[in-house]
């Protein structure tokens, strides 16, 4: 390889604006980089050899032989430490509460995937994808707590004052941790009480309580601590980062998603391509219309390019009216590589 010489210009590749001469580009792969250490799987979390699997320095077989279990090893993997007995108890409590949530999104996704006759693991994986910045928004919630606690310290404000600022700035956020979802269910508040009883409550629970108080003052409708706020705050008091919390609870829910997959396969039928109908009464797009002959395309089609900011704005606003075009979603992404 490497001896092919291009004898002609292809398409626009001879255009002088190209960054280099495309006809002279080399063929063949890049030789191994001998100047640097060759690639290896670098990890702070775990390694294994033929006879051992070691997580954060602890041999995992020795851990389980010594009586440590799955919940302890979550502390080992994510925090590189053995938890206190009370911390292990608290995480057990949280994981039981996070395991099942009825036919909510993770279960629904798992069941929908199951309908296509897939592996169980595909359905469990799909259920994890339900965890975003609204449902199970543990990363968003935890990072919000962190951000405002840092602000309180920088601005010399009390946590009570900063909680009010936080609520005013995030009242409509799905990740506030306070909502009208748990007005009749004592489970969220029960989790805080349990954490206090076990002596594992810390600054995140305290701050979340202030947030609840502020939200109840500011909100026009009755609100209270919800499961996101309770679970997120306790997990952070147990030392888990917002992202670790997010992942642990999404995986925990996936066990039950597996049960939902199984029940779906046991009790329902599979679904084939083309089987599912969408009734016309659910459709509110353009009325049925004939497809124009291809030859008339240039006569009928209107180009959408705009040439001034004013034209652009007018077109943009018009495009926002079309559901499914994406123009109505406006997100400010500062640095997507930092967004979890």
């Amino acid at each position: 390889m490497g001896d092919l010489k291009s004898k002609r210009k292809i398409g626009n590749l001879g255009d002088p604006r190209m960054p280099y001469d495309y006809s002279k580009r080399e063929y063949g792969t890049v030789p191994p980089d001998t100047a640097r250490e060759s690639f290896r799987w670098v990890s702070e979390v775990a390694y294994k050899n033929v006879h051992r699997i070691v997580a954060r320095g602890y041999d995992t077989t020795e851990l389980v032989e010594e009586g440590y279990g799955v919940v302890d090893i979550l502390f080992v993997d994510f925090q590189s430490r053995i938890p206190l007995v009370e911390e292990e108890k608290m995480l057990n409590y949280i994981m039981i509460m996070a395991l099942e949530d009825g036919l909510s999104m993770p279960a629904a996704l798992s069941r929908i995937v199951a309908q296509s006759k897939t592996f169980l693991t595909q359905a469990c994986g799909a259920s994890i994808l339900a965890f975003g910045h609204a449902y199970g928004a543990y990363s968003a919630f935890g990072n919000m707590l962190e951000k405002y606690l840092v602000r309180a310290e920088k601005e010399g404000k009390t946590t009570e004052d900063m909680a009010e600022v936080l609520v005013r700035e995030n009242l409509n956020s799905e990740a506030l941790g306070v909502s009208n979802l748990m007005l009749k269910d004592p489970a969220a508040k029960g989790m805080f009480i349990h954490a206090e009883k076990l002596g594992v409550a810390g600054k995140y629970i305290a701050f979340t309580k202030e947030i609840v108080k502020s939200a109840q003052k500011i909100s026009k409708e009755p609100v209270d601590l919800d499961m996101l706020g309770a679970t997120g705050a306790v997990m952070m008091d147990l030392g888990f980062s917002p992202e670790a919390t997010w992942a642990i609870l999404a995986v925990t829910r996936a066990f039950a998603a597996g049960a939902h997959y199984i029940e779906e396969v046991e009790r329902e039928n599979y679904t084939q391509l083309g089987q599912t109908l969408t009734p016309k009464e659910d459709y509110d797009g353009p009325a049925d219309r004939p497809v124009p002959p291809l030859e008339e395309r240039e006569k009928i089609a209107k180009p959408v390019q705009t040439h001034t900011p004013e034209e652009w704005k007018k077109a943009f606003v018009e495009r926002q009216k079309l559901h499914g075009s994406g123009y109505a979603i406006v997100e400010e992404i500062k640095d997507p590589s930092k967004k979890t």
């Binding site: 995992t60 949280i94 469990c124 339900a130 997010w246 066990f255």
Partner: protein, 298 residues
């Protein structure tokens, strides 16, 4: 706030009202408040029952042993996905989805055990006799015996035999452990007779025998094993997300990265010129007629 069900299903697993979430009849808060463990809750979820203390201990042991496995397809999957910096759950989901036909095939091992135990019952054979039949049938057909062998732990997975021993210590041995042990015996004997090296039991063979012994179905066992691994894969993804370079090709790192250009070894067709559109039909016709392309079809 709209709290209507996403879709309608009859379910025997759980219900959720404004007041409580109930799984298999038990209020989740009550389960947690009364001191049951997460492993207990998994028995309730999949088997609708509170386990004995020893059964709970067995599951705790097994999940603890299975959770972390350093670099395997699941962790590699999570690390590969997080290199593009999607939301973290994408990497975790990918890791769970790597569990297929050869990576932790728990359900398949369970179905194999159930099928042959049933045959022993119907044909009036002992479990030991049926284990020999299983091993012979699989090896004669040149099929791998599920539950045996692990490429990274050639002389037995470090977790496997301790799981068997723990099951015995907890007095949880039954038909599955007896059958699995018999499979291993006959497997080793046949390989020895054929002059082949010893291939140890893997964590699926040992772990799944224990899971089925404590009442989990093949699919439930598979779910427990593969989802449990998702925890550690999340840690691997998170480590790379927080302490590594996105994309995995940085030249600034002292070590060559996962997808550095120099990592590519190409073994496909020779470099060749792109044919002109005017020549396309003739070119494509000859290419098809010659048929050399077929060796590259995948």
């Amino acid at each position: 706030m709209d709290r209507k069900p996403l879709f309608k299903r009859k379910t025997a697993i759980s219900y959720k009202t404004e007041e409580k979430t109930v799984m298999r009849g038990y209020n989740l808060s009550e389960l947690a408040e009364k001191g049951y463990s997460f492993c207990d809750a998994l028995f309730v979820l999949f088997q609708s029952r509170i386990p004995t203390g020893n059964e709970e201990k067995m599951l705790k042991y097994e999940m603890g042993a299975f959770l972390e496995h350093s670099m395997s397809p699941s962790a590699a999957g999570a690390i590969g996905v997080i290199a593009g910096r999607p939301n973290l759950p994408c990497a975790v989901a990918a890791s769970v989805m790597t569990f297929g036909g050869v990576h932790g095939p728990g359900a398949a091992h369970g179905y194999m055990m159930n099928k042959y135990i049933e045959r022993a019952r119907v044909e009036g054979k002992s479990l030991d006799e049926m284990a020999k039949i299983l091993v012979d049938e699989y090896l004669d057909a040149k099929k791998p015996v599920m539950g045996m062998g692990q490429p990274q732990h050639p002389d037995s997975d470090p977790r496997a035999e301790p799981i068997h021993v723990k099951q015995e210590e907890l007095k949880l041995g039954g038909v599955y452990l007896e059958f699995q042990r018999a499979i291993e015996r006959h497997f080793h004997a046949r390989r020895k007779k054929e002059g082949k090296s010893r291939v140890g039991v893997n964590v699926v063979g040992a772990g799944n025998a224990a899971l089925m012994e404590i009442g989990f179905s093949p699919n439930a066992g598979w779910c427990i094993g593969s989802v449990c691994r998702g925890y550690s894969c999340a840690a691997h993804a998170l480590y790379h997300m927080k302490k590594g370079h996105a994309w995995g090709a940085s030249k600034r790192e002292p070590m060559v990265q996962m997808i550095d250009l120099s990592m590519i070894k190409y073994v496909g067709p020779e470099d060749r010129e792109v044919p002109k559109q005017e020549e396309r039909q003739e070119y494509a016709g000859k290419q098809k007629e010659k048929g050399e392309y077929k060796k590259w079809v995948i």
